[in-house]
């Protein structure tokens, strides 16, 4: 009997988490509207507004749209597929001239995109790709290239040989791309560097800290760690600092202010791959402008990434 009660409680627990999602679904985002009413109208649904990356992306979109005289309606899906779907449905009802989506779920967003397709509204994706439906162009940072940049930096920093580890987030495509770019570059150009450990830090700092501790524990000769985002890298940094591993080289991704600060103060975090979200936003608007003018755009457009280290920070004299 008690096992049934226990099972029941566990299923209640699971149901409760479904409930959270349900609650979040219930509330719908309003959205802010900017600038000239005469131009084309573009509906945007971002993944979130809580990340700096998306705030910069939004700024890039807005600046470029203002310059073209487009009217931008920006909403946020807040990582919730259902919310995002209804935002797209609203854009369809409002007969937007184009829709930009940063999908909360690459596969799940398909049907909503099809709805826009059926209404004859062109859809563009930014940062995260969609599967299903017709997307005119996908504009994103080149995550594979970012992984390769990180690999090259680490190779230089540790003298082209030794063992390295990755703190990844394998359930997210961008995380996988960065990890794979990193591995491919090492295999192709730096054969004397071995990836001895790949752990999942979930892209959050506390889990990455634990993963890094196990990694350093199990591989005493580890020379470097690549974190697929800054929380992964900063978690590894905490582990390295707590263990007094002053020689470790850590490379992160995204160049958040905290990571930049860590690089600047000379910590084990030596470099970061920086996306350029403003450029990404501007590029997306540019692609849409080409489309409005009747031009053809490639299905996939990569926005370059760059490496940020102590030297480049010094050279740029600040940010």
């Amino acid at each position: 009997m008690t096992s049934f009660v226990r099972l029941f409680c566990l299923s209640l627990l699971i149901a409760s988490f479904a409930l959270i999602n349900g609650c979040q679904r219930a509330e719908q985002g309003g959205g802010s509207t900017s600038s000239s009413p005469t131009g084309k109208r573009i509906g945007v649904t971002l993944l979130t507004r809580e990340h700096e990356f998306y705030r910069d992306l939004e700024a890039g979109l807005k600046d470029a749209a203002d310059r073209q005289g487009y009217q931008l309606t920006v909403t946020s899906g807040d990582f919730d597929l259902a919310k995002q779907q209804s935002q797209i449905e609203n854009f369809v009802v409002q007969k937007m001239d184009a829709i930009i989506v940063c999908p909360a779920d690459s596969k799940g967003i398909g049907p909503a995109i099809e709805q826009a397709n059926n209404a004859g509204i062109p859809v563009f994706t930014a940062d995260i790709a969609a599967q299903g439906g017709r997307v005119v162009s996908h504009v994103a940072s080149d995550n594979l290239a970012g992984g390769r940049l990180a690999a090259d930096f680490i190779a230089r920093a540790i003298g082209g040989q030794g063992s390295v580890g990755i703190i990844g987030q394998q359930e997210v495509q961008t995380g996988l791309d960065r990890e794979n770019g990193f591995k491919e570059e090492l295999a192709a150009k730096h054969p004397n560097i071995k990836v001895v450990a790949v752990l999942n830090g979930g892209g959050v700092r506390d889990r990455s800290l634990k993963a890094a501790e196990d990694m350093l524990q199990g591989n005493s000769g580890l020379k470097a760690i690549f974190g697929i985002n800054d929380d992964s890298a900063l978690g590894a940094l905490s582990a390295a600092e707590a263990r007094g591993r002053a020689d470790l080289v850590i490379v992160g991704y995204d160049a958040t202010p905290e990571a930049v600060e860590a690089i600047r103060r000379g910590s084990q975090l030596k470099a970061d791959v920086a996306q350029q979200p403003r450029d990404l936003g501007a590029k997306t608007i540019e692609v849409i402008r080409t489309h409005f003018a009747g031009g053809q755009s490639p299905a996939s457009i990569s926005v370059p990434v760059k490496i940020v280290d102590a030297e480049s920070l010094k050279a740029s004299g600040g940010q």
């Binding site: 008690t2 096992s3 009660v5 226990r6 409680c9 566990l10 209640l12 627990l13 409760s16 409930l19 959270i20 609650c23 809580e50 990340h51 700096e52 990844g168 394998q170 001895v196 450990a197 790949v198 752990l199 999942n200 979930g202 959050v204 700092r205 506390d206 800290l209 634990k210 993963a211 501790e213 196990d214 990694m215 524990q217 199990g218 929380d231 900063l234 978690g235 905490s238 600092e241 707590a242 202010p257 905290e258 600060e261």
Partner: protein, 333 residues
Amino acid sequence: MSQVTTEKGVGLRGRISEWRRVTEYVIVFAILIESVAFAIISPEFFSVPNLINIALSIAITGILAVGMTMVILTGGIDLSVGSVVALAGVVAAMIAAGGGSTASVLLGSAAALAVGVAVGIFNGFVVAQFRVPPFVATLAMLTICRGLVFTITGGRSISNLPPAFAIVGRERVLGLPVPVIIMFVVFAAGWVLLTRTVFGRYVYALGGNPRAAFHAGVNTKLITFLPYVLNGLLVGLAGLVLASRLGAGVPNAGLQYELDVIAATVVGGTSLTGGRGSVIGTLWGAIFIGVLNNGLNLAGVDPYMQRIALGVVLLLAVLADQAGKTQGGQAAR
């Protein structure tokens, strides 16, 4: 809290039956088996530094699990712990960074505990006074606190903390990391409170049979309320330790900790329906999960496979524990 009236009737016999209760846990054998398996796979496993590493990795979960055990023993549950860990950590970091001195670190630490206690008082009050199901009350708290964390930080971590902030998370005393020492102290205190005080007996009585407890003169409202407050104190403490270890107040810290903590408690033999279980069992549960995570990481098991393995082993552990209890004919309370 203040009810530290010691129970005099527990003699040798009581202690023996308790020891039997501990050894009855199949979990202890499961820990031995998994340890041997991991030791064979990776020689690193049984080294002293790695054992300390495992202890460190379960410190936060362990501190939280003591409070959770108390709450679950009354038949309640607290789903808000992960969010409150983040909130307490962020508040501590904000105050410490704001003042920039050792005094501000102390103030921030006190504030972290206060945040935990405040949330605990709220949870306990809503559950005890208004009889709101603890699932719902603490679920609401989970989203409220997470929202609060993101609101007060704007989604950004709080770093650049005074050096003293690192003490509870990163220092070592006699080779043992401070978080591990804190965890053991918390376990010891929880054990004394639950097995050696009137309060502890009331907690078991209430969880085992609320109606009977009420008629026996137990102040059921108070005994429902207090575990949430004590749990809140421990959640605040865990938040402080985590922020100190991370060297920052991180708004997305503590995600899904409630699941880890409930898992440790349940695997340790505490019944989700209340009234049955122990703090010692919870310690074993936390160790079991910690060893599993560490061993899989050391063995370099693919991250996808790790998730499957963790789920399967958790399920097996609970099933085995359950089977052991039924065979024992409900001997253990």
